[in-house]
Symmetry: C2
DNA sequence: GTCATTGTTTTACAGTCGTACAACAAGACG
DNA sequence: CGTCTTGTTGTACGACTGTAAAACAATGAC
């Protein structure tokens, strides 16, 4: 018996590989088929290594969920940052990022749904969900305030929080329908639909957000 | 060894018990813990019996998903029927049913999400999802037409289909946010929010749907 | 070049999984 | 009451599960 040759990786790199492999296997094979052995194989690693980075497979799944949420949020935050100091552009970028690739994808939706299905029976998933939701809402609220203020609309924290909730509902609904790929609207249209609806919800003049659309 | 005493049930009754037990275990314990043995125990039956009603556990899961979708749709259809021949009341009832108990629940959301997470890796789930979505859309389209016509608004099948898609997105988004129980709005308000937004989407006079609200 | 460290593989194990099938008993029918 | 049908139970089996731990080898320090 000759042993497999291998390469030592930094803790961060290997951990990341395992998390990405976990997500890939769940999305491609389903959560039921996502065994430790299959995930390890996908990561190009032996099954035993998992326990070197995570206390249990369950802990790795929790970390993978947090990893996914982090990707979704940071992708949106990065696109918002492309707007620089322009409040309208920042908000538009944030909304658009959530309604276009890579956040808009059946891959991510499949994972999101799988984990959402577990928050009822596992408090760890529920906590990760709650934290991500809070962070998302807070970012929205912070971005909404200056946009509303610039158009001389009420923009107290309380106002903006309610608007953030409504906007989050809109984004979630459109993201869900778009990612489910019902083929009912061109994915490229989705961001425009969302930006237009966001203007309505925030009572902004027509085009305030839409003219900052990056795609197309 | 003395055998457990048991009762023979009709095929329909036993099948239904097994499907309900399947859903209950998935929601309460998570899909990973939903083994055939645990499901059988929940149904008050031995594990071997499953194979008498379903060719495999997988087939039972598929049937359970279809069962859930059927519940969601028929609950909404029944509440629509309470509106009798009044087109406005029928549509309002349909929308409201999807935004209040029993359709609005963390139990049902948990199941819905779990199955949605599997449509990417299993064609059988995808087919069930597609069929349910089509049926839902068609019901909306049929109910929208007379409401629009009564207010002398365009109501061709093409018009109503687009409106049904938009309305479905709204319902899905609100249902999702409401069922996730973020505690951000009173569940009783949700139906009112949805009816009000539906009036906007369909360009109906204020109160057209809202005054048919059954709850409260 | 040698050694120590430790990331990685391999093997082993007890438990659980889905399921096939034989034994049984509940209910229907005469 | 006896007999037949078949819904239901109990058991057995091989495959797979998560995980513990020993054996090993890649890398860095000197």
């Amino acid at each position: 018996m000759t042993r497999r040759s291998f390469q030592r990786l930094s803790e961060d790199a290997r951990r990341n590989d395992l998390l990405e492999a976990t997500l890939a296997v769940i999305a491609d094979c389903g959560i039921n088929a996502a065994s430790a052995r299959r995930i390890a194989e996908r990561a190009g690693v032996s099954a035993g290594l998992i326990r070197h980075y995570f206390a249990s497979k369950e802990e790795m799944l929790h970390a993978a969920y947090a990893h996914l949420i982090g990707q979704l949020i940071s992708t949106a935050a990065e696109q918002a940052d492309l707007g620089g100091t322009d409040a309208d552009a920042r908000l538009a970028g944030f909304v658009e990022a959530n309604l276009s690739a890579p956040n808009l994808s059946d891959f991510k939706l499949s994972l999101w749904a799988t984990f959402i299905g577990m928050i009822r029976s596992d408090a760890a998933y529920a906590a990760i969900h709650r934290d991500g939701y809070r962070e998302f809402l807070e970012m929205l609220q912070v971005m909404i305030a200056p946009v509303r203020a610039a158009h001389e609309l009420p923009a107290t924290p309380a106002d903006c929080r309610l608007l953030a909730i409504a906007l989050n509902g809109l984004i979630d609904g459109l993201w869900l329908e778009g990612s489910l790929e019902h083929g009912l609207y061109d994915p490229r249209e989705l961001a425009a639909i969302g930006l237009r609806a966001a203007e309505d919800i925030l009572r902004l003049p027509e085009g305030t957000l839409l003219r900052h659309r990056a795609g197309q």
